[in-house]
Amino acid sequence: MTQQASPIRIAGDTHVGKVRTMNEDALILEPRLGLYAVLDGMGGANAGDVASQLARDAIRDFVLHRRAELAPKALLEAALVAGSTAVFTAAQQHRERHGMGTTAVVCLIVDPKHVVIAHVGDSRAYLLREGRLQTLTRDHTIVEDLVERGLLAPEEAERHPYKNVLSRNLGARAEARVDLLELELRPGDRLLLCSDGLYGYASAEAIQYLLGSGDAPEHVTRDLIEIALRGGGGDNVSALVIEAPAAAPSSTQVVRTSGAVAWWQHRQRFLQVASDGGLTKNPIVRGLAPQEAIELVALSLCQAIYHDLEKSTGVNVWTFAQNLAAGWFERGGDWKAVRGIVDILGGAARAVVDDIRARDAKLGFLLDVAVSRALIVVELALGGLLAERLRQIDSDLIELHGAALDTVEHDTLETAPPIEGSIERPGERPADRPGERPAERPSERSIDRFIDRPTIPFLRPDRPVTSSGESSEVLGAIAKAITIARGRLSPRAELVAQILVALETVATDSGGNFAAAVLAARELYGVRSVDNAGVMPLFDALDKARVVATSSVHQVRTSPAIRVRVLRALCIAHQRLVAAATGLVLEAVVPFGERLREVQVVTGELREAVARAEQRRADLERKFATIVDPSLPWGARGSTEW
């Protein structure tokens, strides 16, 4: 049932539901009177439907005959009282209908902007305004009365056993207490009158969604009933939708409707201009027949823009651009070809828009903006692909740089053993001194220089420590233990072997200071660079060397006392070596920390400088803007070389 007599669009329908065998709901759809209502009858066998129909007829007749005499609110109130009287009288006359009654929610359209709503019982009126759903009526149930009086919490009401027991209805008494509401309708407002068979089986969110869908009222009514049925349909379902006339269509709506249609009507022009622009000669479509190229590329974009205009999205155009360029880039294609094809398609789009603008300036303008936005979406999609490709190339470059550095380090190790000074000093990177590579072997001079270098306090090389002062027998046993340990190593454990040598050196040193340990650590540390693996391989090797060396002591043929002294000497040497290595690591990191701080300072200064430069640029641009020749077309007014 759809009524179109007034500028207000209205549709209403009712359904028996999935459980009941009889529909006790009734509707009033009287466009001549501007009268619309939903009634939900109740009360024993064959009585509910009688009650709702009696009340429906009485209300309609009352309004029909008395509308000239009474003001809208009074008219509606009196009409509902008349309905109640009719039901009550009928119930009194027929014993089997005793106790029948009906709810009623009634809307009287006074003029397109003014309505009066009256209701008794638990049928409801909802208003959807600017996307928000509000309930206009309060259910006349015992539970709602308790909630209103503060005797029951709203959350308890939902679970209350008497939640459906009405406190008011039409027919319980000859008189009826009616709630009335006047409402100013705004453009696009939607009113919903419904029975509890709808809101009891469909959530408020679903009702809001369907009412706000923008679909025609008859579709909304159908969908509302459908959703209540899907929710169980345990009661009769009735819905009546009243839609106030919409305001003038927004620019978005114009583009979605007229704009999209106009665009699609000009598709042949689009294809023609794209073809004339040289689309079929673009490298991206090489190998395709001209017609195929036009259909695959130009028609696809034309369709994508059409669908995006219809839906006010950019997803189709985005997908088109991604598909067009991704494959081309994967095959190693260049940007120039993509840029070229997008320019051709952009030109075709502008030609279509110009045609439409010549006929309808307003629509043409809106379409111009929308199509320009579609072309921006194309650029965004392409930018994403280019940026992703840039990121991939960057990561490949990092790997290639790493491989190149490994090669250089390997060559250096092959040609020259680790030497003093391999740890960079601040501002003295080998890369800063092209062609200058240390080629000297460790010498007294370099050792002296190293010892003279300031280092962290707890590792001063000249700090006195207890001299080992071991006997030649112990020293010999140390050498034997290290030889045995080295023999137990696999050929690949080069670093552990080097550490064993260092351990022997430190353990047999009689200098009485840390110098031997620091020098040995320096040699070891020079072999390792602080690379991606960090310094942990060095410390792992130090630990392995300790285990191998100490376990080898037991294989040395000597007295237990000597073995104990050898073990003690090796352990002390190991501790010193670990301490020295740790110190060197810390020492190596210090310059980086300092350099990081320096870089941060410089970066801050640079940022400020660039900010000043940006400001200066803006000022210059502004200055330039005042001397530009405005008679030239925009885009050709200046030719400054910056």
Partner: protein, 155 residues
């Protein structure tokens, strides 16, 4: 007589409103704008809006390209990817166009300014893509060279 075009003046009048809208909506417009604190966002967006005004007045693509180059370099130094810079510039341009459309709905100037701002945004997107593509070209050349060296080193 001022030679600054009418549209540039209309844009200048609208600029505070655009800036305000962008500051309010920056989190929803673009994640990279959303991450910035208020002062930084104001400075970054302000620089772009300043330049847009100049570009509208001059229509000088060389100038526009130079600005984009600086802007991309600056944002790259702050670890922003070129894609997010592109998205940010488009979001700024698009918002400016929307504000122009709302503020001057129906007036010929408003219509033209909206269209011009949309086209400027398109030029901006294209300019950024050109710059990314150029950078990509340089890196690809670098990659080819390093690959060649690595191959020669293995031999």
């Amino acid at each position: 007589m001022s030679t600054v075009p009418t549209l540039a003046r209309s844009y200048e009048a609208l600029r505070p409103k655009v800036l305000q809208r962008l500051l309010e909506l920056r989190s929803t417009l673009d994640p990279s704008l959303g991450r910035l604190d208020d002062a930084t966002a104001r400075a970054q967006i302000g620089a772009v809006l300043d330049h847009l005004g100049n570009f509208i007045a001059t229509g000088d693509l060389g100038l526009h390209r130079a600005f984009l180059h600086t802007f991309l370099a600056m944002r790259a130094a702050e670890a922003q990817s070129p894609a997010s810079v592109l998205a940010m510039l488009v979001a700024i341009g698009d918002t400016a166009a929307q504000v122009a459309q709302e503020a001057a709905a129906g007036t010929p100037d408003g219509t033209e300014l909206t269209l011009l701002l949309t086209r400027v945004t398109a030029s901006t997107a294209r300019g950024v893509n050109d710059l990314i593509a150029e950078e990509l070209g340089r890196r690809v050349a670098q990659q080819t060279e390093l690959t060649r060296r690595a191959r020669e080193g293995k031999r």
